[in-house]
Amino acid sequence: MLVPLAQNVVSGILVGALYGLAAVGLSLTFGVTKFLNVAHGELLMFGGYASFWAFTLLGVDPFLTLPTTLVFLGLMGVLLYKLLFSRMVKATEDVKVKNTMLIGFGLSLILQNVALRLWTANDRAITTSYSGMALTVFGVRLPVVRLANLVIALVCLVALHLFLQRTCTGKAIRATVEDWAAATLAGIDIDKVYLESFVLGAMLAGVAGALVGVGYSIVPTMGLEWTLIALIVMVLGGLGNIMGTFVGGIILGVTQSVTSYFAGGAYREVVGLLIFLLVLVFRPQGLFGTKQG
């Protein structure tokens, strides 16, 4: 009884790391710009396909193409920002959040259907030579690929943290989140900060997607599921809290796995959604966030 349960917990942690990574991107974008891009899941999906096609057509290992996936999603982010979202910069907060949500939702339909046309509705997975390898610790199976995903997710988060703490751009982003008027009076170009945050969010989504592609599978319709996951974890972890969001992802992953173990896999998605609703209504600042005035 203990080993299968432990297996579930471990699986939950491994997938939860990707949940966290996906959520951090959305949290960063939303925290800075208040743009609720509900096409985040579709950006993740495109990251997965970028990685998949680089592997299938060019034979390059998916972990090696992560930088190119980053660049590809970065460019997508710039394009989408300039074309669509940048027009919402001047709006008041409620209008910003609502309208960008609607734009994101139209965008998700477009991206999903473009992907369906281009790549069909079949599930794809990136299967490398080492995809089947696994370590076994105390009877618990740890697939090598998913372990690598966990490591990369952590690396990304540490890199993001350092970026925000140490670089000029990162500090400008933090200042804008705290007080955009004071930031602009200090000479910070708010439009540029918005663009940078949006692109960063897109890039993080792309990396998460690439990791999902190699550790699990991708399909054009996965966007909604992952957007919901990112939203759930973002709300769980509290806005602006990178570590909290990552832990929130792990919590969601483990909760889903353990629930599947006891109640069957059919209600996997439901438990996350229920937690989400409870947190939204009763503790909107999340498990780790601070109450904002």
Binding site: D94, K98, L107, I110, N113, L116, L228, V270, L273
Partner: protein, 329 residues
């Protein structure tokens, strides 16, 4: 004739035409298309009551639609009369709406939208697990299946939804709903209970969507019970309402009809392309033309009126200048 009288006559003529339509057209496929248009009109209009007039973006509309199909199918196939089954569908939707309404309305704006989306998603997954089997019509029912009554049911539901929208929008309740949409806090301070108006709008929206669901359940021969709960129904309704023009009576009707036309036209060329087209239109509306087709139409009429007035003005001044010929001048 007064504006209201004109509108009433137009409505009756339209209804008459729509009622005569299936009798004049031979092809079943076109009548089926008509059913689809009417269904979409009903869905978009019912969403519009809460989403357009009251300004609460409900992304869980499919839940009401789905619950309507569930209750109606169950009741009808177990022998209950159709009218009772339909009522059951609408009622189940309202009961659910009221249950979740009060906690849901603690959320505002986009958080309400996402919360309702999550809620509908929970229902979608749950129904898929509890009712995984295809719901098929038993052979005797199948043998007696006739398209015409189903068309008229859709027409009735659509007409009821549009009429209810109209009556609500022009009532005192409607005024309150719009006040809540524009400035919720200001409305509250004037004594307009935001929660009460939101709940009324929610209930009307849910009931009518539930009826549409009932019509769907009566119409379809075989479908998976999970299907009507799919978020696609919500997204379609929202897009139709926006592209047509939220917060208007005509908007969802135009949006619904246009959607089906585009879908059918593009289906001839490339399947599913209509979603990309509509997605783009939707974004354009949100960014540049929040009032949708209705607003575009109003702009057009104003521009034409201005052009006509200018022409008239230049004609008048021209006449003054030109004056009758005076010899010697």
């Amino acid at each position: 004739m007064s504006k209201k009288a004109v509108a009433l006559v137009a409505l009756l003529v339209t209804l008459g035409l729509l009622a005569a339509f299936p009798l004049l057209v031979a092809a079943k496929s076109i009548v089926n298309l008509g059913c689809l248009v009417l269904l979409y009109i009903a869905l978009a209009s019912s969403w519009n009551i809460l989403g357009g007039y009251t300004g609460q973006t409900n992304l869980g509309h499919a839940a009401f639609f789905g619950l309507g199909t569930l209750a109606t199918r169950l009741l009808w196939l177990s022998g209950r009369p159709l009218w009772l089954s339909l009522l059951g569908g609408g009622s189940l939707a309202v009961v659910f709406a009221l249950l979740i309404g009060i906690p849901a309305f603690r959320l505002r704006g986009a958080y309400f939208a996402i919360g309702t989306l999550a809620l509908a998603q929970i229902l979608y997954v749950t129904v898929g697990n509890v009712f995984p089997m295809l719901s098929a019509l038993p052979s005797q029912v199948l043998a007696n299946y006739q398209l015409l009554p189903r068309y008229y049911l859709f027409l009735g539901v659509a007409a009821l939804t549009v009429t209810a929208s109209y009556l609500l929008a022009n009532s005192r309740l409607g005024l309150g709903m719009m006040a809540v949409r524009e400035e919720e806090d200001a409305a509250e301070s004037l004594g307009v209970s935001a929660l009460k108006h939101k709940l009324v709008a929610l209930s009307a929206s849910a009931f009518l969507a539930g009826l549409a669901g009932g019509a769907f359940a009566y119409y379809h021969v075989g479908y998976y019970p999970q299907l009507p709960f799919s978020p696609v129904w919500t997204f379609d309704a929202v897009m139709m309402a926006y592209v047509g023009g939220t917060g208007t009576i005509v908007g969802p009707i135009v949006g619904g009809a246009f959607y089906v036309i585009v879908k059918e036209y593009l289906a001839l060329k490339l399947v599913e392309l209509h979603l990309i087209v509509f997605g783009i239109l939707f974004i354009l509306v949100v960014l540049f033309l929040p009032g949708g087709f209705v607003e575009a139409w109003a702009h057009l009429r104003k521009a034409l009126a201005r052009r006509a007035a200018q022409r008239q003005a230049s004609l008048d001044s021209g006449e003054r200048r030109a004056g009758p010929y005076q010899p010697g001048h």
